[in-house]
Symmetry: C2
């Protein structure tokens, strides 16, 4: 008999978004006419087309592959030098942050990296994960056997949950118990909150003091509209020794269907064997990519490179401005409807307090039924998300304005 | 302290191809003039440009992403229905083989799938792996902790190696001890050998009799030029209950840089928990993809779809014919040089016996130094590969003919 990875059997029934999809589908079947009015502000998927500079670069790369003289087969497992160097220069060194080209690992998306990083880490690390949280951090740890069984409230034994609430500005307090792996994401998904440089410094110092590693997700970094806020954890002294950072082209460049991201793994990040021999994670991560992958599609890597060109950067700036404009309208719309709203300033997400007496799936159902708005119930991101719902600003301006109008007309 | 996955530390110094690269680079530095003559018949990377139908499809898909009306963001984690259905119809149902659309899982390459499949399997399965072999099967199991430590000869404790030699036609005998996971690859890399339908049936019956699973790699299926030979394991009765099959667009369609492959996981394949509860692997594999990935780049999926169009299929047929023509010339060239050669009939690889008294790295070095030919030493694929070297037919016709000429002029 062949044995399964039994840890998969601990996973809860479904990933959040399939459940939302199921409810939306059921609504559509029961109300075919009303379903035509649906505005989707649920999943964080972009709606605007690719920037022209990216389109041109992809066409050019495809033409290169169409010609024997310029054809390219297998690329480097960790990404082409042209892209690694461009990223390191523009996102780090050009901004005074010390990251080498070969500390950039190109991938087909930051979701994949969040799971893949666990390949090189041991099963005996204690985890600290924010609550609410992007479900992938938790589920990939369950699958890797890094947690105990699930509890009725959807949490898992073996994870120290770090509550993020309006009271702490959605930036958690340092863990009470020692941990080895800490997941942080700012600008935050789902709360839309941002962390200050001082707050992030406290986390880095804490991680260094207990030899923990911070897995820092900056998929939404492009939405930071205040230069005093940290765009990368490596702006903080010491982070090169304790942090691995995940980046995405999805939300700034519209790459949710193109698929590209990257991970920064500095050479100074060490972990240990059970006998406390230090091992640089950079070596293992390189080995992981070269053994388990042949790298990212060549036209996709050229597309990512184009986002840093002068034209590309300008076009991406416009895209982000568009979504931030939506976020501002949504937040103000919620407030004018008498709701308490957070986020939306440095993030495409607005995090809204549920009106008294209705829980987050209750709000989801009411907005679906009464306003044909698809949102995301906060509890889907963890038990501290109960009492909130998330509205995504990834939409056309027209849909956003219609959504605001409908939010105002719901009588709570 | 954060703990590493210590299994990585069991891995041998380097993957085979980096070592080849190192020797070629050293040769080039010592002999810059001669290095200009190098002909690369080492790594199995294609040289011909993408088929025109694929190029057209990729351009079209990029244009769709450039327009808000036709833009697509996140796709399904397991692949778009348009591609899954096309694959299932053309590669299976149209040939009388029962595979459903949703048993096809689209990925960014079959190398990735070979590693990823271990995510859903337990650590306590006994492994049977052919020798010589594509190194990825072994290394990914080492990394996942499914083996013991390495031995001096490059093998690992905990793997039952299945010798593939000229004597058994490079199709191994059934394992002596019971195993749970069996890796087979036909047309074979590196030996270029093919398996008959009767031989494959014996393996399927054996796997069913001991409740083992066969991981069957058909990355080179397009090179089978005899209709009586099995193009997929699912041509064999019962394989739906015991086999997972890996496919690639790399070697037939020139996708080594485009990155696309697929895995077939039939709903009938079950594994068990330690308490012997049966679990369909299809469910876990689906969950794995939806949790750890957002699927393959949209233009890449359209490119893969185009390989099945009438034009695309014809163009791919020509590509394969070209490389098979090279393989025939290489095999005949070796024979006329007095060498014993195998493979090259249903495969782009020719597997050549080293002349007496020279081992496989010895042949590699001599061909590099005396003929400026880059080949692959057989021992790099496992200890049963000692005494052989591999020549790849992935080249232009011109280079292939020059390589044949040079092979003839080496005096052993």
């Amino acid at each position: 008999m062949t044995f399964v990875n039994e840890h998969y059997l601990k996973l809860r029934g479904g990933y959040l978004f399939p459940e939302i999809g199921r409810r939306v589908e059921a609504f559509g079947e029961a109300n075919p006419k009303l379903a035509e009015r649906l505005i989707r502000c649920g999943i964080g998927d972009v709606t605007e087309p690719l920037p022209p500079a990216v389109v041109t670069a992809m066409h050019h790369a495809v033409d290169e592959l169409a010609n024997r003289k310029t054809f390219r087969g297998y690329g480097p497992g960790t990404g082409y030098e042209f892209l690694r160097a461009t990223i390191a220069e523009h996102d780090f060194r050009g901004r005074g942050v010390d990251i080498a080209d070969d500390e950039i690992f190109v991938s087909d998306g930051s979701k994949c990296d969040c799971g893949a990083i666990l390949d090189i880490l041991g099963p005996n690390n204690r985890l600290a994960i924010t609550d609410p949280v992007y479900p992938v951090y938790v589920d990939t740890n369950v699958m890797a056997g890094n947690t105990g069984p699930g509890r009725d409230d959807g949490s898992y034994v073996g994870i120290e949950y770090l509550p993020c609430t309006a009271e702490n500005g959605f930036v958690p307090a340092l863990p009470g118990d020692a941990v080895e792996l800490i997941y942080l994401c700012y600008p935050n998904n789902p709360t839309g909150a941002m962390i200050t440089r001082d707050q992030l410094r406290a986390w880095v110092e804490y991680a260094l003091s207990i030899n923990a590693i911070i897995l820092y997700d900056v998929a939404y970094a492009a939405y930071i509209s205040d230069e005093s806020l940290p765009k990368t954890i490596y702006e903080i002294d010491g982070a090169r020794r304790c942090a691995i950072e995940f980046h995405s082209f999805s939300k700034n460049s519209g790459f949710t269907g193109v698929r590209c991201g990257y991970t920064v793994c500095p050479k100074d990040v060490q972990a240990v064997t059970r006998k406390e021999v230090e091992v640089p994670l950079h070596d293992l991560w390189t080995r992981r990519w070269n053994t388990k992958s042949n790298g990212v599609s060549y036209p996709v890597q050229r597309a990512a490179e184009a986002t840093y060109s002068k034209d590309g950067a300008g076009q991406i700036g416009e895209l982000v401005k568009h979504y931030l404009g939506n976020a501002k309208r949504l937040r103000e719309g919620c407030e004018s409807a008498g709701l308490t709203a957070y986020g939306g300033l440095h993030s495409p997400y607005v995090w809204v307090v549920c009106p008294e007496g209705i829980d987050s799936w209750g709000v989801f159902d009411r907005l679906l039924n009464e306003a044909q708005l698809v949102t995301t119930p906060g509890v889907g991101f963890g038990s501290c998300g109960e009492g909130y719902f998330r509205i995504s600003a990834f939409n056309t301006r027209e849909n956003t304005e219609a959504a605001v109008e409908r939010l105002r007309n719901v009588s709570w």
